[in-house]
């Protein structure tokens, strides 16, 4: 195999349309006679709908239809949850439009269809709704206490499930409880993962065309295939009569890994009205109604010996589900369950998580989904252990981590980590960071009592990418598999069409997939077209999330390419008048082994099967091939991130002075794209540490309902990142790649918070709640100093 494309920083194919404004966002889709939908949303967190009258809306100019939940109760179905994590999980019905009761601010209550968007918006104001307020359940601990008010009165509890993993019971390790009882040192901490909002830049949008023979839905979704399947199931529409198109999609970060009320509402409305409909959310609707992420209380107990060796870990979580179960929401903390032991050789581990209902927007996957939470908790508490023992935080880590010669390593969770070299990544990070110099400067500032203190934060992480071996998902009660598909179609002129089941929304699959194909088939990068996101061309796939596309879909593509070569071989042999066994395929040419000239290219073979005039007997006239790949294992990228923060002790404001990320993501297909993924991931992780939080008031009103209050960082709020890589190829992957989509987000949050706490340690500070706002930091300084 010659590789010229793989590893090269190809500029992206998808850019051409994106930088010139020739994009097809769902919101750009306009159809003749199309009606616009507007949704009236609940202003209250919890209330009974005592009456609702949509008729005044019908009298508004331009309005064609208006309906409430009750009007469509028999056809709207209930939103699906694909991950009932336990057999007895409470899964309340979730009608797209609330029927009798609203359970979070922003829940849909009624819908108007009108000839213009403005008319639809004017009309929803005319709808009359009477609510009887019910007590809002907001605090997770109160929600599971005796006698608590209930989010779902009929269910008798606010606890959705309790899921346990215990290494002693699973036979993968020792008894964590015993380890803690017997420990020389136990560190106990509570960490809170604040609620975040994925805040993809493209608001969600959906268009449904019910005219013609099938229902066509365009949606700004990460999961066109899963959406098609569930639309069919939920609405009882035959699956072959549903086509879903995810055109250009403007970011997702897990936030568009959902089957949404809005999609079902548009589907039901289009079906009813027989006309194309469009709904595009406003940003304020998006922030209040698209699913949120994180929102977990973590109680952690770490047992260790005085020499720093960890002997056991016990983790107890309360995970806020919001008012209902989201598509994979209940499973998000479970994805993290296997990661609390991180890069370490902990001998005993117990994990217990309860999913709790509250009167808030549902939570579900947000970049990293479960793994950032786990990494945060363990990397924070490893620092606390270091302080307790008077050791350097890197020293404590290296005493516990898996050494390079110990791979593959089966962890206390039973996962087989494939490869890695934690020491190498850490050494490289220290070198780029100037670790020792910064430690000296830190000491100097401490000694001089500088009002600006310097802190150094460390985060060594691993994650599980490449979701996922289907059998593992099955064992975890997830509703679908984890395979991925690819088809390679050889056109008669030698150009190549690739159909992938992944569904990119910024990740650059069109480019990376072209690079893989170009290398495998020896065709030009520009001669490959990658098709995705339309269930008509790509009828099968499991879409894009969980850093899976390259790690799983990339192998499917690789395998499909190998099949194409195999299909072409007899044809080339026929043309070259030799035995197929004598042929070798290099640089896009079939040649008789040992004879450098006179070969036949794949294009020659493609033309030959197109004409089909002279093929070997019994040969099917095609080179095309499909492949479906079900991974045998996850892949485990890792890395070390170092962050230096300057903390102004007078105001509490935090500035990131230096940020170094050394990631090991296996082999790299396109370093430009990888760097971009890392940068964006780090930015989101820093934003969790410093800036972002979805806040509800005591009545359950979302206080951070616009970008004025939900503060995303701008370019002016972030530093430049220094990034580098080490490379431990994934042994289970023919291309050696691991996955990079979530690495930055997973690693950066603890690095930043560790740095802030490190700066303030001498003042007695050992934790600051996220986001570490200037006020919180200032208060910590006050409290610590007092």
């Amino acid at each position: 195999m010659t590789t010229t494309e793989i590893g090269s920083p190809r500029r992206r194919k998808e850019d051409a349309r994106l930088i010139t404004g020739r994009t097809t966002w769902t919101e750009n889709v306009t159809l003749p006679g199309m009606l616009h939908l507007a949704i009236l949303r609940s202003p209250l967190a919890h209330a009974r709908i005592t009456s609702i009258d949509v008729s005044p809306a019908l009298e508004t100019k331009g309005v064609v239809a208006a309906f409430s939940g009750r009007d469509v109760a028999d056809v709207q179905g209930s939103l699906p949850c694909a991950w009932p994590v336990t057999e007895d999980m409470v899964h309340p019905d979730r009608p797209p439009i609330a029927v009798d009761e609203v359970r979070f601010m922003g829940e849909a209550v009624a819908v108007v269809a009108a000839r213009s968007r403005a008319a639809a918006l004017d009309a929803i104001a005319a709808i009359e709704v009477d609510y009887e307020p019910l007590p809002a359940v907001l605090d997770m601990e109160q929600a599971i206490a005796e006698g608590a008010d209930l989010v779902h009165a009929g269910k008798g509890t606010n606890k959705g499930y309790t899921w346990v993993f215990d290494s002693a019971e699973a036979g993968t390790g020792g008894d964590a409880g015993a380890a803690i009882d017997d420990a020389e040192v136990v560190i106990r901490r509570r960490y809170v993962q604040q609620r975040l909002i994925p805040a993809f830049m493209e608001p969600r949008s959906v268009v449904v065309d019910p005219t013609g023979d099938v229902y066509t839905m365009w949606s700004a979704t990460q999961i066109p295939h899963i959406l098609r399947f569930l639309l069919a199931v939920v609405t009882g529409t035959p699956e072959h009569k549903v086509r879903v198109i995810a055109p250009d999609v403007g970011g997702g970060f897990g936030g568009k890994l959902q089957v949404t009320p809005e999609e079902l509402i548009a589907f039901v409305a289009a079906k009813r009205l027989g006309k194309p409909v469009k709904y595009t959310e406003s940003r304020s609707e998006s922030l209040v109604s698209a699913h949120h992420g994180r929102d977990v209380i973590q109680d952690i107990e770490l047992a260790a010996r005085r020499d720093g060796t960890v002997t056991g870990l016990r983790v107890k979580l309360l995970a806020n589900m919001g008012a209902y179960m989201g598509l994979v929401g209940p499973g998000v903390p479970i994805l993290g369950a296997f990661m609390y032991n991180a890069i370490y050789k902990f001998p005993a581990y117990r994990f217990e998580c309860s999913g709790v209902f509250t009167n808030t927007t549902i939570t579900d996957a947000y970049r990293g989904a479960g793994r950032p939470e786990a990494t945060y908790a363990i990397e924070r508490i490893m620092d606390e252990l270091a302080v307790e023992l008077g050791l350097d935080p890197l020293e404590v880590r290296s005493r516990n981590w898996i050494n390079a010669d110990e791979f593959p390593f089966t962890t206390v969770c039973g996962l087989a980590y494939d490869s890695g070299d934690y020491a190498k990544a850490t050494d490289r990070a220290k070198e780029l960071f100037g670790y020792d110099e910064l430690r000296q400067e830190q000491q100097a500032r401490r000694d001089s009592g500088d009002s600006v203190q310097l802190g150094i934060g460390i985060s060594t992480y691993t994650e599980m990418c490449g979701l996922a071996p289907s059998r593992v998902l099955g064992a975890l009660r997830y509703g679908a598999g984890g395979w991925e598909t690819a088809s390679v179609r050889m056109l008669p002129t030698g150009r190549v069409e690739v159909v992938t089941g992944t569904s990119p929304h910024g990740q650059g699959h069109e480019t990376a997939w072209s690079q893989i194909v170009a290398d495998q088939l020896g065709v030009a990068f520009d001669d490959v077209e990658v098709l995705h996101g339309d269930t008509r061309t790509s009828y099968k796939g499991l879409d894009t999330y969980g850093s899976r596309s390259l790690a799983v879909g990339g192998i499917a593509l690789y395998n499909a390419c190998q099949k194409v070569i195999e299909n072409a071989k007899p044809i080339a042999a026929h043309m070259l008048e030799c035995d197929p066994a004598d042929l070798e395929f290099t640089g896009g040419q079939f040649r008789v082994r040992g004879n450098p000239d006179g070969g036949k290219s794949l294009a020659d073979c493609a033309l030959a099967v197109f004409a089909a005039h002279d093929l070997p007997d019994g040969i099917e006239p095609t080179l095309d091939a499909d492949a479906v790949y079900d991974p045998v294992n996850f892949s485990f990228p890792h890395g070390t991130h170092l962050c230096a923060t300057e903390v102004d002790t007078e105001t509490g404001s935090v500035t990131i002075r230096k940020y170094v990320a050394v990631d090991d993501i296996g082999r790299v297909i396109n370093p430009l794209i990888v760097d971009g993924q890392v940068h964006g991931g780090i930015a989101q992780g820093i934003a969790q540490a410093l800036f972002e939080e979805a806040v509800y008031d005591a009545d359950g009103n979302l206080m951070t309902g616009t970008f004025v209050d939900y503060t995303l960082p701008t370019a002016a709020d972030l530093p430049a990142f220094v990034t580098d890589r080490t490379e431990s190829p994934a042994p289970d992957h023919p291309l050696g790649t691991k996955g990079v989509g979530e690495a930055g987000t997973i690693a950066s949050t603890p690095a930043v918070v560790n740095a802030i706490v490190d700066a303030l340690r001498p003042m007695g500070v050992n934790d600051i709640a996220m986001p570490c706002t200037p006020e919180r930091v200032w208060r910590a300084v006050q409290g610590g100093a007092a």
Binding site: S8, P9, R10, R11, R12, E14, D15, A16, L18, I19, T20, G21, R22, T23, W25, E27, N28, A118, A199, F200, M201, E202, P203, D248, V249, G250, G251, F253, S282, R283, S284, G506, G508, D526, V668, P671, L672, V674, D675, G676, Q677, H679, G680, A683, Q684, T706, F707, V708, L712, T714, A715, A716, L718, A720, F721, V722, T723, D724, R725, E727
Partner: protein, 200 residues
């Protein structure tokens, strides 16, 4: 309804608009300029940024969601779709975003590019910090801004020196992070790519 004439990307348009119509909606829905997008309702995200002439005829970056179409009467507007030169050659900022991988999902990109064009008109040699502050009206959720800053630096060089001189600088050496290896793998140069152009 108010009659307004607006020149957009070099073409005069005359329409009756409702006074409440935002410029961005007029551009998208009446004029089909869907390259300009809407990302928020509080004028924070900058996705809708276009250039619009002021009362004295100078074009400057504005958020087209914070301008009423009637306020744009008799003004001249340039959107992302009108940024390319004659023969549809890319604007240096567009090219730099491509070269430096300054976009991922691309949703913020039209606004980001227009804001960068606006910035470079006022300051043709901005420092990294000036670029970061100059783009504070634009949100991007994908890139962490690093490659956007690099792209704007690269574009500024190109604008000041012309293309040939600016070309050799690989993206990783821009944006004041000279010591940044940024990639463990060598970045061999790839052939200059032809970007397919829209048919006018």
């Amino acid at each position: 309804m108010t009659r307004v004439s607006i020149k957009v990307d070099g073409v005069d348009y005359e329409d009756d608009v409702e006074p409440r119509t935002l410029l961005v909606h007029h551009l998208r829905e009446s004029l089909g300029k869907v390259g300009t997008v809407v990302g928020c309702d509080t004028s924070n995200c900058g996705a809708c940024t276009v250039l619009m002439s002021d009362a004295d005829g100078h074009q400057q970056g504005v958020k087209s969601c914070a301008v009423l179409a009637v306020q744009a009467a008799d003004r001249e507007i340039t959107t992302i779709e009108g940024l390319s030169g004659p023969d549809n050659t890319l604007h240096p900022v567009q090219r730099a975003f491509h070269e430096a991988h300054g976009l991922q999902c691309g949703f913020c990109t039209p606004g980001m590019i227009m804001a960068a064009v606006d910035l470079l008109r006022e300051n043709s040699d901005p420092s990294e910090q000036e670029i970061r502050e100059g783009l504070e009206g634009n949100l991007c959720r994908c890139t962490g801004y690093q490659n956007i800053v690099r792209a704007v630096r690269a574009a500024s060089e190109e604008i000041r020196h012309g293309r040939a001189e600016a070309e050799p600088a690989p993206p990783s050496q821009l944006a004041g992070e000279d010591q940044t290896p940024d990639s463990g793998l060598p970045r061999q140069s790839v052939p200059d790519e032809t970007i397919p152009q829209p048919v006018p």
